[in-house]
Amino acid sequence: MEAATADTKIAPTRAPRKRRTAEEDERRLARFMISPSLILIAIVAAYPIGYAVWLSFHEYSVRVPGLSRGAGFRNYTNALNDSAFQSAILNTFIFTAASVFFELILGVAMALIMHNATRGKGVLRTIVLVPWAILTVVTAITWQTIFEPQLGFVNTALRGLGLPGGNIVWLGDKPYAMIVLVIADVWKTAPFMALLVLAGMQVIPNDVYDAAKVDGANAWQRFTKITLPLLKPAILVALIFRTLDALRIFDLPFVLTKGTNGTNTLSFEAYQQLRENRLIGLGSAMSILTFLIVMIVSFAYIRFVGGNIRGLADEGGR
């Protein structure tokens, strides 16, 4: 209210003509300040994406210079009929569903623990950031050493405790390689989820809980009836970030398993065709398909939970 009246008071005192030039100046300055970013984005994002689309409709080989001819949708039909690419689609969705699910559960659990810790909150938050900060390549190597069949921690511990599974070659067998891949990803990114959820928890006013306590709600009821519903927006944002990342996963399978034993993902398969097999057309078609899948999933998210996101944006705007 106050700000609005102040504004209207100042505005009419300026001459209308002068004000227009000031607005023009502002617009010119805006253009000047935006253009470096726009130029960079155009060169390194828009142009390559357009070029990738063009390549995906052509037959093109690095080995035979100058050879390039129109291929219509052949690269796309080849990609979709390729059994390796089909398994990559399936593996990527399995990986995304499993890792995002466990990240959510662990993330909420860790956030609750951090929120309720009476002492050492800062230390705990710093420790939780360690897996997040460690490079993905290093994460892969770390879990390789832990699941090493002979000298790794897991097999030694299983054998030492006399439990079954002590002789599993984790990264060399079909269902197990995916399990390790999911564990490694959950370890690295559950903390990110936890921090986003924790930030959401800290915004919930204490009075709400006090009121519920007075009404006789127990801890579990307070969690399911108050905490979870109020956390929904924060959780949804975290879920979107994580899902989009998981669908594009590349470095973890590249280093951990080299895409073997049921761990080849969409990005990995496209890379294989582009770099290893030098099939630029087919590889580009695969990367465009990956892009489309990511787009469809993000639109689906916004469609199904869009109301919540819009609500969040409106609240944020205040």
């Binding site: 970013s37 390559p48 950031l129 900060a133 097999n155 921090l195 959401g200 594009r248 470095d251």
Partner: protein
């Protein structure tokens, strides 16, 4: 973030917290077990890596919780490997340059979005944010071809330029939320005193937004230090390879020997800068990560 926290601790008087803690007393041990479990979950895998990096020879084929004969031999050997030291230098140059340029270019764009009036602002923001959904692989192949054609394939600028486009949306996103929090009155006062919008930006807003710049800078640095897909697609030799790429191509003295000890040592070394950043700037990083999520 930090303001919300301090506000909370001010609002809750000490007597009340003690009172609130009292009935939970018998649950205290559950809480401690949970806290220790979280710490173990986060730290143990990295400890195992350090443990492996301190072992050599026959010790490497045992799974002792503590290295039986701890040695820094693996560390000495990786620092004698020119491929590794070169990669460290490349990573430092690429990450620092990317961070500096992303802050410079990004703060311009973020200021315009946060403060100036211009047409199609929504579409600009939508464009910038949509870049974060691009799979790196979709631009890797065209960039590989383009960079080969113009001769910057396998060079450091060839990495810095594409890193900028991915670092920019991140930096802009964080900076916009920080710029918006700076009270408008200060800029308006500067404008009334005859400063131009641009002067108001770099003399008033930028110094006040230093914490935001630090946050965006740290996250950009971590992104660039971590990046892998473009690092292996756009380089072909040690001249331009960054550490993640170099480590992925590390091979033992023979083809069949997995040099687990040295790879672990190299992994520990390249994690140190990031762990230092986390230890020093935990609050900034959390503020940056949650900037968009909570406030919208």
């Amino acid at each position: 973030m930090s303001t919300a926290e301090s506000a909370q601790s001010v609002a809750v008087p000490r007597a009340r917290t003690r009172e609130a803690r009292k009935p939970k007393r018998n649950w205290a041990w559950v809480q401690w077990v949970a806290v220790v479990a979280v710490m173990l979950f986060c730290l143990f895998p990295f400890y195992w890596l350090i443990n492996t990096s301190l072992k050599t020879g026959p010790d490497l084929s045992g799974a002792a919780l503590l290295p039986p004969h701890p040695t820094l031999a693996n560390y000495k050997s990786i620092f004698k490997n020119p491929d590794f030291t070169h990669a460290l230098r490349n990573s430092a140059i690429v990450s620092l340059t990317t961070t500096f340029l992303a802050l410079l270019v990004g703060s311009f764009c973020a200021y315009a979005i946060a403060r100036l009036k211009f047409r199609r602002k929504f579409w600009l923001l939508a464009l910038i944010l949509s870049i974060t959904t691009f799979p790196g692989i979709a631009i890797a192949a065209p960039l590989f071809k383009l960079w080969t054609d113009i001769g910057i394939y396998n060079t450091l600028p060839g990495l810095i330029i594409p890193y900028l486009t991915f670092a920019l949306p991140l930096a802009i996103y964080i900076l916009v939320s920080f710029f918006k929090e700076i009270p408008k009155d200060l800029e308006e006062a500067a404008l009334v005193d005859g400063a131009t919008h641009f002067q108001a930006f770099y003399k008033v807003v930028v110094p006040l937004a230093a914490p935001g710049l630090a946050t965006a800078g740290i996250l950009t640095f971590i992104f660039a230090w971590n990046e892998f897909l473009l690092a292996i697609t756009l380089t072909s030799s040690a001249t331009a390879r960054t550490v993640p790429a170099a480590i992925a191509f590390f091979t033992g003295s023979t083809q069949f020997e997995q040099p687990l000890g040295t790879i672990s040592a190299a992994s520990v070394v390249i994690s140190i800068p990031l762990i230092l950043l986390v230890l020093l700037f935990q609050k900034r990083i959390v503020a940056g990560l949650t900037a968009g999520a909570v406030k919208g």
